[in-house]
């Protein structure tokens, strides 16, 4: 009987230990920004694109930004249209979870789309009032992707022609001054 109880307790402990993702609430980055206090201390799951830099700091954590906005689906460099500003939150991820990820989103680079689960810290006293997601679990949804943008030949040639034109006008004025 005692052995059975020990087994049951161990099984329960394991379930609790492995369960956090199932208990997490699905939220958007905008909800965390607009109603940050409501989610303070709660385990949440946010999906978005990793952006900017992977700043590996002492203590084994990497700080970066997670964006969840229209550009995650349609980047401007891939014919996306301007659709407002970015919507992003700061995320603190254990560095081992970041291994193997593609470069973060920047110019001509779509960052990896990830699902992050962790505790939302709103005005965290331990970090003097910062708000961020303390990530416990990271799942890759879509790999990052490098984009290309062709040169704008029309602007290049037009600009060069204007420069030459302007320089010629200045030269003509100087010649005219010298002759009088």
């Amino acid at each position: 009987m005692r052995r059975l109880l020990t087994l049951a307790a161990s099984a329960t402990f394991l379930v609790v230990l492995l369960a956090p993702p199932a208990l997490a609430i699905d939220v958007t980055a905008k909800e965390l920004i607009d109603d940050g206090a409501e989610y303070d201390g709660m385990t949440v799951t946010v999906v978005g694109e990793l952006i900017g830099d992977y700043g590996q700091r002492r203590g084994g954590y990497t700080w970066t930004q997670l964006n969840e906005d229209p550009y995650v689906v349609e980047p401007i460099a891939r014919d996306g249209r301007p659709a407002g500003g970015n919507i992003g939150i700061g995320v603190m991820v254990p560095s081992p979870l970041m291994e193997g990820l593609d470069a973060p989103g920047r110019y001509r680079q779509v960052g990896p789309l990830v699902s992050l689960t962790g505790v939302w810290k709103y005005h965290d006293p331990a970090r003097h009032g910062e708000s961020f997601l303390h990530v416990a679990e990271l799942a890759l949804v879509r790999r990052g992707e490098a984009l290309s943008e062709p040169p704008d030949w029309a602007a290049l040639v037009g600009g060069a022609a204007l420069m030459v034109g302007g320089a010629l006008m200045l030269y003509a004025r100087r010649r005219s001054e010298q002759s009088t």
């Binding site: 830099d53 906005d69 996306g80 704008d152 602007a155 034109g165």
Partner: protein
Amino acid sequence: MLIRPAADDFRVVGDALGRVFLATAAAALLPVVWAIIGREWHPLGSFVLMVGVFVAVGGFLVAISRQKSDPLKTAQRGLDWSHGMVVVAVAWLVVPAVGSIPFVLSGHFASPVDAYFDAMSGLSTTGLALVADLDHLASSINFWRHLLHFLGGQGIIIAALLLFAGKGGTTLFHGEGREDRMLPSVQSTAKAIWAVSFLHLAVGVVALSAVASVILGYSWNRALFHGLMIFFAAFDTGGFAPQSTSIGYYHSATFEAVTAVLMVAGALSFGFHFRLWSRSDRRYTGRSKRVDVSDRDANSRWSLLKNLESRAIITTFLLTLGFTLVGLAAMGAYSSVTGLSRQGFFQLLSAHTGTGFATVPSAEMAGWVGLAFGGMAVAMALGGMASSTAGGVKALRIGLTVRAITDEVRGDLLPDGALVDDSYYQFGRRRLTAEVARSAMVVSLLFVALYLIGAAIGIVYDVPLQSALFESVSAGANVGLSVGVTDQAMPVLLKLTYIVEMWLGRLEFIAAFVLVGFIYAWVRGR
């Protein structure tokens, strides 16, 4: 009777404007180099086109503005006061128009008005932004955005003065809202301003990059990029940032501390900087009659703290900080004293220096009410020191206005015939004349009117009173903090209102009024 400007007036103005555009073209070559090094070929074309337009317009104006030699005239006409003001006012409208070409071609702006809005915001060191998807913007375009802060803050006119030193420099200098001539000539003062700026550039970029590399763990090239961008925006009290979450992106108290030092440095007048780092005041007082050097401590750096302007800015900063912190505490916004202090201090410092950096989202700041809102709004409205890159009413005018009022009250309270000491200390003892007091009060009232008109137009478009006032003050005082009103979706008229506010606030009205008078005289004069 109004006198219609003559052809010579247009030639003089055209020649000076052309030279300003050519100087700006030289500066605009920097992002060309950046794009080549970064192999960003698409933006490269837009930068070449922008430089081409600057050169073509500048070259055309200089070429057609040549005054014909007239043997009866003893001298060619030079730039007088009104010409200088017209040049500055027009330059500050046209440079952002041409400077917005790379923005338009980047695809990150919904319309040319949005691109012009950001270019004006950059040049006027405001920091409000309508750019879409900033986080994927090309680094060369980001560099140009921040370089606009540097050009606007340090003065494109000053750059032109250095490149094309000539007559009329003084009026151009004052037209940009600079009153503090540190050295006998405008050219030497311009050189000193750029020397101070480059010294801070070197120290600031190294400090920020070191923090970004060592503490934040960025690669060295990214650390340098962030350091350079944030330096431009902090020292020129601009407020643009390379990432959408502003300074909140860095999640670092150390990075904020270095940024805060640079913001304060940017809000100090160039005269203050110059005297702070000069060995002796003699270099600039020896040949100037403006300063009474009989004060025993005139050569001491500590005398800078005796300045009316220094005392005014310290007082207003402490008062508005107190209001903001008490307001945030009353709202229960932060559960810890350190959180309240760090976040409240940084936002308030950013507001008072006219920078516009934030570590909290605009949606959160929109919820700051009562004293917290009041402290922030007043700090933005007041701004930094005169002849600095900061906007707003300016501490010197606040000090002079308060001093004039207290002198008036003291005069009324004292017995008849008693003399009231009407002197004040500002780099030496000076008399507070009725003319000085009136000038300070008029410009202060113009700023208040600007803030209120902008807020009223916001209210017409159903923006709540508090938000409309906050955003209008932010635009008019060239701050850049936002509570979410500034957005691509806002009405075009409101965008244009903020553009005009940024322009008027940066030029401190006079140059703009002279331009209007010049156009009116051209149309209606005889």
